[in-house]
């Protein structure tokens, strides 16, 4: 039976103070043994530099490198031989057989992430320009219209928004506030009509800020987990998800019990 090439993924830890030339030499050897066995490197990256969960050879930190390649099984053995030969520089290594689908999937995910990042940047730029234009327009408006009620609403907005550091039209609000001070120093701050307008405007604006999060939430969780293993902030979400799943499950079982 003919031996066919497989997909492998090798993760190895080097000591944090490894010399660049040593690393280059090791990586060259790995590449050579892959190409000597009808293989090709799909990905060779630095994965992370992080603290080790326990000390290895008295090192508390290590640099993780990942190597994804397609080659004959004999290449795999040779790679492991090389890595164990340099055991003073390589603290740990592990090779795992993967599938073509997994490799392609990861590739696609990476491309998608890059694309999304690019899109986000674009959107941010567009938003910035839009905001600048809106600011100009509203500045003109503020100059022409000088009703105290409107200005007061603007003032309330300033108070509510500053802690959240919203970037929306700070210039306009500032001018409005100043006008209030100049023209209506004795303005009652508890006029119901005024409060109402203020509330409506706040409500309109807060969802905009939060709109993007819920949709992305799930994918974001996975991505963050994969790329930034040191971030532990996402944990509280799991119990909630688990609970909701549990609740559904319990409902189902209860219904079944009643019908029986």
């Amino acid at each position: 039976m003919a031996v066919t090439p497989n997909y492998y993924e090798t993760l190895y830890i080097t000591r944090p103070d490894i010399q660049e030339e040593d690393l280059a030499k090791i990586q060259q050897k790995l590449q050579d043994s892959i190409s000597a066995h009808q293989g090709e490197i799909i990905k060779a990256d630095k994965w992370a530099e992080r603290g080790l969960a326990y000390e290895i050879q008295d090192y508390k930190r290590g640099i993780y490198y990942i190597l994804v390649f397609k080659a004959l099984p004999s290449a795999c053995a040779e790679i492991e031989k090389h890595l164990s030969f340099y055991n003073t520089d390589i603290l740990r290594f592990i090779t795992i057989k993967t599938t073509e689908e997994a490799v392609n999937k990861e590739k696609a995910a990476q491309e998608k992430a890059a694309e999304e990042a690019a899109n986000k940047e674009k959107a941010a730029q567009e938003k910035a320009t839009e905001k600048a234009e809106a600011e100009k327009a509203e500045a003109q408006k503020a100059e022409s219209a000088k009703e105290p009620a409107v200005e007061f609403a603007a003032e309330v907005e300033v108070v509510e928004e500053t802690p959240e550091a919203d970037k929306e039209e700070p210039a306009v609000e500032f001018t409005a506030e100043v006008e209030v001070v100049e023209e209506a120093p004795e303005a009652d701050k508890e006029e119901p009509a005024v409060e109402f307008t203020a509330e409506v405007e706040v409500i309109e604006e807060t969802p905009e800020a939060d709109k993007e999060e819920p949709a992305v939430e799930f994918t974001a969780e996975v991505e963050v987990a994969e790329k930034d293993p040191e971030a532990d902030k996402e944990e509280p979400e799991t119990p909630q998800q688990a609970e909701s799943a549990e609740e559904e499950a319990s409902e189902v079982t209860e219904e079944e019990g009643e019908t029986k």
Partner: protein, 78 residues
């Protein structure tokens, strides 16, 4: 039968997370792996994790790889 027992002890039937959600068990995903270890860094047993046999086995070998690569500790007694 099960439902009666569930009701009496207020336990809820869990559905395997990896069967219902499109998450891959990857030993490099430290964040995910660390959700399935206890305070004492033991692998969470199936009765608590609620995973099916297939995924519990996959997870447990993934956690062992994660430990080997010093991404997670074996124990708190270092």
């Amino acid at each position: 039968m099960d439902s009666r027992r569930d009701r009496r002890y207020f336990t809820k039937k869990k559905v395997c997370r990896f069967c219902t959600e499109p998450i891959e068990i990857d030993y490099k995903n430290v964040d995910l792996m660390s959700r399935f270890i206890t305070d004492r860094k033991k692998i969470v047993p199936r009765r608590n994790s609620g995973l099916c046999a297939h995924h519990q086995r996959q997870l447990s070998s993934a956690i062992k790889r994660t430990r080997f690569m010093a991404l997670l500790p074996y124990t708190v007694l270092h």
